[in-house]
């Protein structure tokens, strides 16, 4: 063990209990900041930073990645990078829908509204209720289809 054999490092009790104390402390902090402190839009990033810190503590000390074979750190880091890629590239799409010049304003909200109406219509059909909004629906649906064609 002492001669550099990884995987068999014994994490001292002091560190294990210390990390546990830190995790409890951060849990209390995240509850207080989320419930008592109004930071507006910053509450979400703050909670994520605290959660990230807690996760780092667990990975580093409880999972002993600090003393582990470096290849495991590489595997973990690669996985983490791909999570970031997954998240950010998805948001590149979803956050900017309707912003492109080939899509008119409210394109997405139009579609959402139509979808909502269709769902309500389906509900009414299921419940055997009369379809009150039948007059306005074809117009809206046609509106949506036009945009759909533009997109192709």
């Amino acid at each position: 063990m002492a001669d550099g054999h990884h995987g068999h490092h014994i994490v001292p009790l002091k560190i294990l209990w210390g990390v546990f104390g830190g995790l409890i402390f951060l849990t209390i902090i995240t509850v207080i900041t989320a419930k008592q402190v109004d930071l507006g839009p910053l509450n979400l990033p703050l909670a994520l930073v605290i959660a990230g810190t807690k996760a780092t503590l667990v990975v580093t000390f409880f999972m002993a990645l600090k003393w582990d074979n470096r290849v495991n750190l590489l595997i973990f880091s690669l996985g983490f990078i791909f999570v970031i890629v997954f998240l950010s590239f998805t948001l590149f799409d979803t956050s900017f829908r309707g912003d492109m010049s080939n899509a008119e304003e409210n394109y997405i909200s139009d579609q959402e509204r139509i979808e909502q109406q269709l769902l309500e219509r389906q509900e009414r059909l299921e419940q055997g209720l009369p379809l009150d909004v039948e007059e306005e629906e074809p117009a809206d649906a046609g509106h949506g289809d036009d945009h759909g064609d533009d997109g192709h």
Binding site: D3, A47, G79
Partner: protein, 239 residues
Amino acid sequence: MSTTIASTEHDTQGGHGASHDDHPAFLQHHFVNADQQFDAAKMGMWLFLITEILLFSGMFVAYTVYRAWHPEVFLEASTLLDWKLGGLNTLVLLASSLTVALSIHYIQKGNQAALFWNLLITILLACVFLVVKYFEYMAKFEHGIFAGEGFDPHGVSHGVDYAKYNIPYAKQFFSIYFIMTGIHGFHVIVGIILMTWLLVKARLGHFSAAWYTPVELTGLYWHIVDIIWIFLFPLMYLI
């Protein structure tokens, strides 16, 4: 033949504890020595854990996208979840992570009794987590809070008017909540099964300071289950 290779390896490394003729029963013939076998198993576990993280990241991405689209709905819907129960479960899981880390610490020192007791406490804490989750789920089901098409909030309890939460996209929030915590809960159940198996083996004295690979790997798995919850708790219950 494997013995020959193992011996050669020990010679080149100048020997580290094990004698040249010593070929432990747990060492499979295709590994050079116990350390290599341990490292290979652990690396395999890390690869598996990455697939676990990617599995959950898909759901976290779904959460992020829907939240980015309808932040106000997510904020309002999350108030329906009981952050005290979520917080309690966070503490329970953190404590279980500590005990599983302690169980590895003690078996590395050859303390089989401490391994047994720490595993037992971990299993009990995992059960507490599931019981709390059960009551949380039941309180939601009673008032028509389901994942997917069954979503139909109604009724009043503890001064909360559930019908008030029948707003567009609240269904998406609760669907994501139930799917994520449900799959997480399934992982907790798998963890309990694994640790019960470890507990039996620990009782039978199968583990020692020289060989405790299953404890180490299950411990890693359990910490990942904990980490997932570390993110689920603030995202679902707090903000």
